[in-house]
């Protein structure tokens, strides 16, 4: 499995070549003058190259490298204090990286901050709203700063208000809004100006189940054409809307992959549950004789004479559940057979409970 995802090296290689060309003359110098986003195609929407952040002697983010492509929703998963918000803030340009390079749509956050900021919608953890303004005044301010033309501001606000279901509160002062609405105002400002890249720091925190559903739909539809990086500690959210998951802990990237690959890779053992009408000892012996079955426990089904629930610990070889099904169904009545997948929760807990050094070792 891919523990640490590396950037498309062509990109990094080109940028190195470009940097070294400053001392040269001729055609390479021409390449140096081209913006990075024209030279490398396709440019990752967000790219972090060996990014670290230190506050004094404390390192919050260690040597983080990953990228998010256009049309992709990546979930950023980690316990509280893992460095999610700091990483988000570095990508958004609120703080600068102590070392390494952050680019948004090909623009370096350290040197081309403004161009990058124009392509970015950022929703911080706490909705950055002015309490005394009403929703329209607030969104107008953000739209104007983002360069939305004066005659298009109204239409743009209507667009994001519809997407975030804010139509009914557009004229209400923000301090009068519930937490859920404030959160959605924060999301709406991030969507203004149709940014290429959307950074969302816990976008569904504090919402009720209906609102969570709606917000996920907004993110999902936005993510079809844009790049979205969202941080969360709600695990089902990640499996529902993200194409890839990045797991971080103590400022280090532990894994980045699709939820399915993470699930596959973390299956060192799995469980097969079955219900059959069979004598206990014979069933146990039969199951243990199947290659791949490590251990079996049986329990009678309460209230039904002669029926047993069995739980088999198996290794991860292919077709073990089919072999179990054949063996049991050949001799007795098999009523139910189910393979239990490890949940993302288990995978996540396994990663974050590992020591950093161990987690970084190649799998």
């Amino acid at each position: 499995m891919t523990r640490i995802n590396t950037l498309p090296r062509a990109d990094a290689g080109t940028s190195k070549q470009v940097r070294s060309s400053t001392a040269l003359e001729g055609p390479l110098l021409g390449a140096f003058l081209l913006p990075t986003n024209l030279m490398n195609s396709p440019t990752p929407a967000i790219a972090l190259e060996s990014v670290s952040k230190r506050f004094g002697s404390k390192t919050i983010v260690h040597d983080m490298t990953f990228s998010v492509e256009k049309g992709e929703i990546v979930g950023f998963l980690g316990p509280n204090g893992a460095g999610k918000t700091t990483t988000m803030r570095m990508i958004a340009g609120f703080t600068t990286a102590s070392s390494g390079r952050v680019t948004v749509a090909g623009f370096d956050m350290a040197t081309r901050n403004e161009e990058a900021a124009r392509r970015l919608g950022y929703m911080p953890e706490h909705p950055p709203v002015y309490d005394t303004l009403d929703v329209t005044q607030y969104l107008t301010f953000v739209a104007r700063v983002k360069g939305v033309a004066r005659n298009e501001v109204r239409a743009e606000i209507d667009r994001v208000a519809t997407a975030c279901r804010l139509e009914s509160v557009l004229r209400r002062e923000i301090y009068k809004l519930s937490k859920g609405y404030r959160q959605r105002v924060g999301l709406a400002q991030a969507l203004l100006g149709k940014p290429e890249v959307l950074l969302l720091d816990e976008p569904t925190a504090g919402l009720d189940p209906g609102q969570i559903q709606e917000t996920r739909e907004v993110i999902r539809s936005f993510g079809e054409q844009h790049a979205v990086l969202l941080s969360t500690h709600i695990l089902p959210e990640v499996t529902l809307i993200c194409q890839r998951v990045a797991i971080i802990n103590q400022g280090r990237l532990l894994a980045i992959d699709t939820p399915a690959s993470l699930q596959r890779a973390s299956e060192q053992t799995s469980r097969v549950l079955l219900t059959a009408s069979a004598p206990g000892d014979a069933l146990q012996t039969e199951l243990l004789s199947i290659p791949g079955v490590i251990a079996v426990t049986t329990r009678p089904v309460p209230g039904i004479e002669g029926m047993l629930n069995a739980e088999c610990q198996t290794d991860t070889r292919e077709g073990v559940e089919a072999a179990i099904a054949r063996a049991v169904a050949g001799r007795w009545n098999l009523h139910r057979l189910e393979r239990q997948q490890p949940t993302l929760e288990n995978i996540f807990l396994r990663y974050v409970s590992q020591a950093p050094a161990e987690a970084r070792a190649p799998a």
Binding site: A117, P128, V129, F141, R144, V145, K146, G147
Partner: protein, 235 residues
């Protein structure tokens, strides 16, 4: 420039939706009205000179209440994260906010025009002196706001921002008196140059000296530059 205007308009909206701006304008106008009435009707002087001097001290203590929320309010309201991640240069934020605060200063100034009615009715004041006085007052106010805005960027607490700005501004006002205790010519010159009060006195007397105009503009520019530099450094 569009972005500076957007920040400016947002600042004005925030000002007019908070009680502090109304409170400061009201206290200033009541105070100025009192000094004017005292000077005009009790001392019998039909000029604005004395009133301008009182107004100078008054804004020194009141303008930090206008400037204190400019950045402290953004920190405590967690909106700084928005400002710093929007496509805004730090100088655009600083300038937009400064212009918003200067607008409040201009409103305060306009409010004192009411005092001119009895002045022109009962006396024969020199219009040019009054105009010079108002120019000096606005320049002094701009310098106070710029200094106050810089201190506001240093702390999350609005009260602390005001509590630092007031004594600093008062020191700049009274520093001129130190020259009386100095024998060194250079130090005397320096204290005189740094004095907010001595430059202001020129305007009150009806003199618009380029040196005095430049002094207030330079103080404002230095404070605003430090402000923008600090925000950039803070990233």
């Amino acid at each position: 420039m569009n972005r500076v205007i957007a920040v400016y308009q947002k600042e004005l909206l925030v000002y007019f939706r908070s009680p502090i701006a109304y409170f400061v304008v009201a206290v200033f106008l009541v105070g100025t009205g009192y000094f004017f009435t005292y000077n005009m009707f009790l001392s019998g002087s039909a000029s604005m000179d004395e009133t301008f001097r009182n107004m100078g001290i008054l804004i020194l203590t009141l303008l930090p209440l206008v400037s204190m929320r400019l950045f402290s309010g953004e920190y405590s309201g967690r909106t700084m994260e928005l400002l710093m991640t929007l496509p805004l240069k730090t100088w655009e934020i600083v300038l937009g906010k400064f212009l918003g605060a200067v607008t409040i200063l201009l409103l305060m100034t306009a409010g004192t025009f009411i005092d001119l009615v009895p002045l022109y009715l009962f006396g024969n004041p020199q219009t040019t002196t009054i105009i010079a006085g108002y120019i000096g007052f606005i320049l002094l106010g701009m310098a106070c706001l710029a200094v106050g805005q810089f201190f506001s960027a240093l702390t999350q607490n609005q009260i602390v921002a005001a509590l630092i700005a007031v004594p600093v501004l008062l020191s700049f006002w009274f520093i001129g008196h130190l020259q009386n205790f100095q024998v060194s010519h250079t130090l005397r010159g320096l204290f005189a140059y740094l004095s907010f009060a001595l430059h202001y006195a020129n305007f009150v007397q009806g003199l618009i000296r380029s040196e005095a105009v430049m002094f207030y503009l330079i103080v404002s520019a230095i404070a605003l530059t430090l402000n923008a530099g600090y925000l950039q450094w803070r990233r």
